[in-house]
Amino acid sequence: MNDFFQDRKAKVDLFKKQYRKKKLEGQKVEIPEGLFVKCDACGEHIFYDDLEENLHVCPKCNFHFRLNPRQRLAITVDKNSFTEMYTNIASANPLDFPDYDEKISSYQSETGEIDAFVCGTGKINSIEVAIGVLSSFFMMGSMGSAVGEKITRLIEFASEKRLPLIIFSASGGARMQEGIISLMQMAKTSAAIKHHDNAGLLYISVLTNPTTGGVAASFASLGDIMIAEGGALIGFAGKRVIEQTIKEELPKDFQTAEFQLEKGFVDIVTNRNNLKNLLTNILKLHK
């Protein structure tokens, strides 16, 4: 009997030793920060350089990582062709909303951007375009006065110069902190799109993850050609709100880019790797 306990104790000690040893070894081979990225969708650890080379699309499961405007422009416009515009427009605090100024400042230092929209002119395979990108990293890409004004100016500029217009949307919708003034940006941007349309000019709307709410219900849905990136969340109301309203669970593919294609609200769902080619072809057809 005694032997049994001693025997067991020896085994446990050995196990403890090995376990600790493993733990130590694990710490030794700690991965330098930023070298590997874990895929949000499949959990795969991806070598960052591979991910970047694959335009931030998971090589294993095809999940499209969100891009900030600089990353988006870098993979979309020809090298050194982008000239940024309207960098002098920033958010104010029209409702004197508590903590809004601080929030803006903190997003500014976090992202290095003035607000959630970056735009200007650039070339896509040598074709000149007016191009704008919403940033979901800046207050969820929400559209307040500054964003609405920049979008409208870009559209008006494109109309005036008779340039094709491309807007990459990524937004949760209107900016809550600017209340009704933010809501009215939906009308303002849509109005400018209508003028661009009346002038017989091309507008390609690219919906990226996520495009919802007031942005989905305004300029983002008004493209002559509607392109969505694979897997992007696209819809009007939030999934949680809908589930609470109808008291049932929604299917997993609800409000995805593929769902919108099936329902007839986008023309094309594409992989990011094919997007620049696609844009080039469409632009060429409208030259």
Binding site: I89, S91, L95, Q177, M184, F219, F236, A237
Partner: protein, 269 residues
């Protein structure tokens, strides 16, 4: 800024169960009202009560959001929350009004566009966006009146007009105070607090130069006394439609574009 209690009182009046709904207002304003139904694609969205009739001796198109009176009616009208079909019916009748050169009166009273499964499947976002883009250059005079609740994109979807008027106790906001509180404070019970900071009263919107005119309410609100307010509204509408009729349609849509183009408060350095 108003106190929390004062603003919340307005929210409650705007949603008061006895507050007259769109059809009561239509009955008061319009003679020989003929209701028109359906979007010609899929369905007739009942809550978007629309039709033609006379305002005084002026033939007009009326597009309104009806919340319903009794519980049965409220369910029938989906509590005034339109589906995409509602916005498409509205769009069809706007184009029809333009064809026959009829001005359009919009009556806004909705908690918001319906956030449902079918509504998403049939393109709520696109339906609203389409209306915004179309309304901006409709070549007939447009006036919208917020009767009770102006709920977000659901209201704006029939609200891009030459003139926006609000009843004194009506509210117009980016989201319901409850929704706003649940997003920003993660707590829907903080709706009262949200309502105040949201600046959703007629007074606030007038100060922001979004609303052009406030229709006074008497005796504590329309649920107590509506005839006097409705009669003032009617007089105002007759005279404003008269004025707008004098404006050349190209100038009218230029002015309308400018009205929305100028909305926004930002810093320019």
């Amino acid at each position: 800024m108003n106190s929390e209690e004062k603003v919340w009182e307005k929210v409650l009046i705007a949603r008061h169960i006895k507050r007259p709904t769109a059809k009561v207002l239509i009955e008061y304003l319009i003679t020989d009202f003929v209701e028109l139904h359906g979007d010609r694609y899929y369905h007739d969205d009942l809550c978007m009560v629309s039709g033609i009739g006379y305002l005084n001796d002026l033939p007009i198109t009326i597009i309104s959001q009806e919340k319903g009176d009794t519980t049965r009616e409220k369910i029938l009208y989906n509590f005034g929350m339109p589906h995409p079909e509602g916005y498409r019916k509205a769009l069809r009748l706007m184009k029809q009004a333009e064809k026959f050169k009829r001005p359009i009166l919009f009556i806004i009273d909705t908690p918001g566009a319906y956030p449902g499964k079918g509504a998403e499947e049939r393109g709520q976002a696109r339906a609203i966006a389409n209306n915004l883009a179309t309304m901006i250059d409709l070549k007939v005079p447009l006036i919208s009146v917020v009767l009770g609740e102006g709920g977000s994109g659901g209201a704006l979807g029939i609200g891009v007009t030459d003139e926006i008027w609000m009843f004194e106790n009506a509210i117009y906001s980016i989201l319901s105070p409850e929704g706003f509180a649940s997003i920003l404070y993660k707590d829907a019970s903080k709706a009262k607090m949200a309502a105040r900071v949201m600046r959703l009263t007629a007074e606030d919107l007038y100060a922001f130069k979004i609303v052009d005119k406030i229709i006074p309410e008497y005796n504590g609100g329309l649920h107590n006394e509506h005839e006097k307010s409705f009669s003032e509204l009617k007089k105002g509408l007759i005279s404003e439609f008269n004025e707008l009729a004098k404006v050349d349609s190209n100038l009218l849509i230029k002015k309308r574009y400018k009205k929305y183009r100028d909305i926004g408060i930002y810093e320019e350095t």
